[in-house]
């Protein structure tokens, strides 16, 4: 019986330790961010390209289809109440406040987070990070901070692109295919949406960008330097990011309401 309690105690202690180390790691990244952003801007640009520009295709395709589904579902369900004209409102609310930031963050974890974690993990496994330290280059500044910043910058932009293509998809399905009046579609959306709703989505995407990049960089940096360890770090990145994003989404939504 005491064995179980001891197990729980040590697991909890382990969790606290990891959590605290993650906070300290985050603070170190933040402390180094401004100087890297100013002095090694080119490195950051390169990472924005890797995480952002290369994720554009998947983001836009997914956005288009998520928006299309919202158009179909919204139309078929709202027409029971004779409120097909509110499809625009329905799609815009869902996309801007929830689906845009959340689905983008999940896709970001799958597309960019895994790439970051495995890249950094492999650098560690092949002793590139140790080699940098030998040459008196701080790998945190040279490798981790630019990747973190790249993700933080790319994520809100990706979420905005996702919401925009989503609205386009909803518009195509609802207006062009199902015959909702385009004026009603946009006008109803504009009367019921507020700048506050848009800013909720933007704040969410900024938070998710920070969390997603932080976890990816952290998992890669702490990967066990073997082939298996890198693989496990990649998996953990997706799992932990997905869980944290969904929990944080709930908390931010609760704050805003």
């Amino acid at each position: 019986m005491t064995g179980i309690f001891r197990e729980i105690y040590y697991t909890f202690l382990d969790f606290l330790e990891t959590f605290g180390a993650l906070q300290l790691f985050f603070l170190r990244l933040l402390a180094n961010s401004p100087s890297i952003f100013v002095r090694r801007f080119r490195l950051v640009v390169h990472q924005v390209y890797n995480t952002g520009a290369l994720s554009l295709v998947i983001i836009m395709v997914c956005g288009l289809f998520v928006g299309g589904v919202l158009g179909l579902q919204g139309h078929s369900n709202l027409s029971r109440f004779n409120a097909e004209d509110s499809v625009g409102t329905f799609a815009a609310f869902s996309l801007l406040k929830e689906l845009g930031p959340v689905v983008t963050a999940l896709l970001f974890a799958g597309r960019a987070g895994t790439a970051l974690a495995s890249e950094i993990g492999l650098m560690k496994a092949t002793d590139q990070l140790s080699a940098m330290e030998m040459m008196a280059i701080n790998p945190l500044r040279r490798v981790l901070v630019p990747r973190f910043l790249g993700g933080v910058i790319a994520m809100p932009l990706l979420a905005a692109v996702f919401s925009m293509t989503g609205l386009l998809g909803a518009h195509v399905v609802a207006v062009s295919l199902l015959g909702v009046d385009p004026g009603a579609f946009w006008q109803q959306m504009q009367t019921s949406l507020d700048l506050r709703d848009v800013s909720e989505g933007i704040i969410k995407s900024i938070v998710f960008g920070i969390v997603g990049s932080l976890l990816a960089v952290w998992e890669g940096y702490n990967a066990i330097p073997t082939a298996e360890g890198v693989g496990r770090a990649t998996t953990r990145t997706v799992v932990i990011t997905a869980i944290s994003v969904l929990i944080l989404d709930f908390m931010i939504t609760a704050i805003f309401i």
Partner: protein
């Protein structure tokens, strides 16, 4: 070198697209408050019942939005609701004896304040109060009135 340049161009394109998307979301999907940046003047009105009137509800004259409700408060002394709203200062020739009523857009739509022009030669200005007001029509009251009258009618019928 060639590759770095294309990476930078790609990044630039991506950031521009993202910014354009953000701009689109903030300007095109939200209601365009045409007078939110321009000058306004504050006017108040007292109502017996404001229904479900909320701050930011439109103030319309002849169906055109000319202002927005800023606050809806209850006055504990007169036991009335005090609604403050702002009107775009380019509409500064609204007669002082105009009549404000709380209307509903459509059967189940949101409520707004409709101003009906009066005939006075004096105009509403900062801080003035609209004298003539008409309360919101509460659907439940109408329904209960109708039900009550029809059921009492039945009662008299059955007595006969």
């Amino acid at each position: 070198m060639q590759q770095t340049r294309s990476v930078e161009a790609g990044t630039g394109l991506f950031v521009l697209l993202g910014m354009a998307a953000l701009f689109f979301l903030t300007t095109q999907t939200t209601g365009s408050d045409t007078f939110s940046g321009s000058d306004t003047y504050q006017v108040t009105a007292r109502f017996q019942n404001v229904g479900s009137l909320k701050p930011r509800a439109p103030v319309a004259m002849s169906g055109v939005t000319i202002g927005r409700v800023t606050t809806v408060e209850f006055d504990p002394e007169s036991l009335e609701a005090i609604v403050a709203f702002e009107i775009d200062s380019k509409y500064d020739k609204i007669p002082e004896d105009s009549d404000a009523s709380i209307l509903t857009a459509g059967l189940l739509g949101s409520q707004y304040i409709g101003l009906q022009a009066g005939g006075s030669e004096f105009y509403l200005e900062q801080g003035s109060e609209v004298q003539f007001t008409q309360s919101a029509i509460v659907l439940e009251n109408l329904i209960s009135k109708y039900l009550f009258s029809s059921s009492s009618g039945n009662a008299t019928n059955s007595e006969n």
